[in-house]
Structure formats: C-alpha cells, structure tokens
C-alpha cells in the first residue's frame, strides 16, 4: 500500500479516534497538572497496553476467522448503531436541544475533584494512576471499536485503521502536552457529526454487501450514501430549530 492510499484509508479512523483522544487527554491533563505526571502517565501506558491487546486479539480473530459476508454483516450492524448514536447527538447539539460538549467545564470539574482528594508525597499516587487508566481505557474502548470496525475489511484496512488511530493519538497528545490545556478549540461537534455520518454510511454499505446487495461503482457509492445522511441530518437540524427556535439545553438522556 503506497502512502497516499494508506492516508486515505486511515483518515476515517484518524478523525474518529482524534475525538476520543481529545476527551481522554482532558482527564489525563487534569490528573497530571493537579497531582504530578508520573502516576497518570503510568495509568495511560497501562491502558494503551490493554487496548493494544484488545485490538490485536479481537481484530486479528475477526479478520482471519469469521467468514467475510458474516463479518461485513456484523460490522455493518455495529457501525450503523455506533454511527447513528453520534449523528443523533450531534444534530441535537447543533439544534441547541442538548448542550455542547464542554472540555473546559469537564477539565475544571475534574481538577476540583482531584484536588479535593489530597495527595501524600511519600506514596505512589494510585488515584492518579486509576483515574488516568479508566479515562484512557473507556475512551480508548471506542477507539478500539472504531479501529476494528474500519479494519474489518481485511489486513490492509486493519493496518490503515491502526495507523490512523495511532497518528491521531500522537498528534492530540503532542498538542495537549505543548499547550498544557484541554483542547477546547477542536470543533468536537462538527467532527462527531461528520464521523457519525461516515460511520453510518460505512454501516449501510457493509451490511448491504454482507447480504449480497450490489452497490453501483462498489465503494464509489459511499460518498453518495454519506451525502444522503448529511442532507437528512441537515434537514432534521432545521426541523428541530423550527420546533424549538430557542433551543432547550436538556440532558441527552431526557430526549
């Protein structure tokens, strides 16, 4: 696979993973700045190791053991469920019905909570390690899922998805380390909206392939499917604005 093809194949996993890394980085930064860096870095490294084991065992098993048609059907189903969830939430946020994800607020809350727990200088900071481990593992589970889903088409796709996720992790971590501040400037909702539409499109495409449907131009249909999702979401956001011109800012689980 040449570099350009690899970059194109890795882009969906890169964008989707970057959103998750931003969220994990906010928590690790909060731990590092309030309690010192050793413990959260160890927690992060342990979580990364756990995730690597999950991706390698599950990903390789899926790609090599499960029959292709069944795999496409299962992965298409999972991608569709996962993508629709992101798409729905992003549209509700654009329409002002659900509040936007606020990294700054999450960071402040986390810092206050960590400071209230105190720190003894002589002991290993287990709280810092566990908080960082949990944050990276939980957000990273989504990254692992994204990598496995985008990589399910075969070994080359799996490699591209892994590269995309790793590059996203390196870039987000490097920027956060340089700024020492949560990445509030990242347009998270736009990214989630785009990724939600993209994952849903891949889900429809692969499930279709799994049940024997023929797509005109094969993968060239994906941009058309994506366009349909984007247009429908835009219409839905307009409809919600018409229903609730002032927005609502209610909890996502209440709508």
């Amino acid at each position: 696979m040449d570099l350009v093809t690899l970059a194109i194949a890795a882009t969906p996993a890169f964008i989707a993973s970057a959103v998750e890394f931003v969220e994990a980085t906010t928590i690790v930064l909060a731990v590092g700045i309030t309690r010192g860096w050793r413990a959260p870095l160890v927690g992060t490294a342990l979580a990364a190791l756990t995730l690597a084991v999950i991706v390698v065992t599950l990903g390789v098993a899926l790609v090599t053991v499960v029959p292709e048609k069944l795999l496409l059907g299962v992965v298409g189903t999972l991608l569709l469920l996962f993508g629709l969830r992101w798409l729905r939430k992003a549209v509700l946020r654009f329409a002002g019905i659900v509040a936007l994800h606020d990294e700054e607020e999450i960071y402040r809350r986390e810092v206050a909570q960590l400071r209230s727990q105190g720190l003894k200088k002589t002991e290993w900071d287990w709280i810092g390690t566990i908080v960082a481990y949990k944050a990276v593992l939980l957000e990273g589970t989504e990254v692992a899922f994204i990598v496995i889903a985008f990589g399910a088409k075969g070994v080359a796709a799996m490699n591209a998805a892994i590269v995309g996720a790793i590059v996203a992790g390196i870039i987000v971590t490097a920027i956060a380390a340089a700024l020492r501040h949560p990445l509030t400037a990242v347009p998270e909702n736009w990214m989630k909206f785009g990724v939600g539409a993209m994952l849903s499109s891949f889900g429809v495409f692969w499930f279709g392939e799994g049940i024997g449907a023929e797509w005109p131009g094969d993968a060239a249909s994906i941009p058309i499917i994506l366009g349909v999702f984007l247009a429908a979401s835009w219409l839905a956001a307009r409809m919600l604005r018409w229903l609730l011109p002032e927005g609502a800012r209610v909890e996502a689980r209440n709508v």
Partner: protein, 76 residues
C-alpha cells in the same frame, strides 16, 4: 476490578445505544432489509442496500422529530 469491568460494559453498551428506540429501530430496519434481500428476486437483493438507506434515513429523521417534541414538552 468489578467496577472497572462494569465501566467497560457500560461504555461498550453506551457505544452502541444512546437512545433505545433508535437502536431498536435500526435493528428492525436491518432485519427488514435482510428478509427482503433473502426472500426476493436477484434484482431485489441487488438493490436491498438502497432500501436499508431509505429506512435508516426515515428512522433518523423520525427519531429526531420525536426528540424535539419531547424536549419541547419538557421545557413548556
């Protein structure tokens, strides 16, 4: 350990299901498409992907409309 496993399970479930009705609706759309593709003619099977796309788009718009109505009811 138990809480970590519970956290992983909650997160994995949360990965796929945010709104139960949307998730169930998507599964029903997938099932309808699979049934139509497996019981129809070759031409029907070959075009089943577009049926799935249409079902899912209608589902998303209807689900968001319902969410908007629910939110309006909550704040009024």
């Amino acid at each position: 350990m138990f809480s970590a496993l519970r956290g992983i399970w909650d997160n994995t479930y949360g990965l796929l299901v945010d709104d139960g009705q949307l998730a169930v609706g998507a599964i029903v759309a997938l099932a309808i498409t699979w049934l139509v593709a497996s019981s129809g003619t070759d031409a029907v099977r070959e075009n089943a992907g577009w049926l799935l796309l249409a079902l899912v788009v209608v589902l998303v718009v209807a689900n968001l409309y319902r969410a908007g109505r629910n939110a309006r009811r909550r704040i009024s």
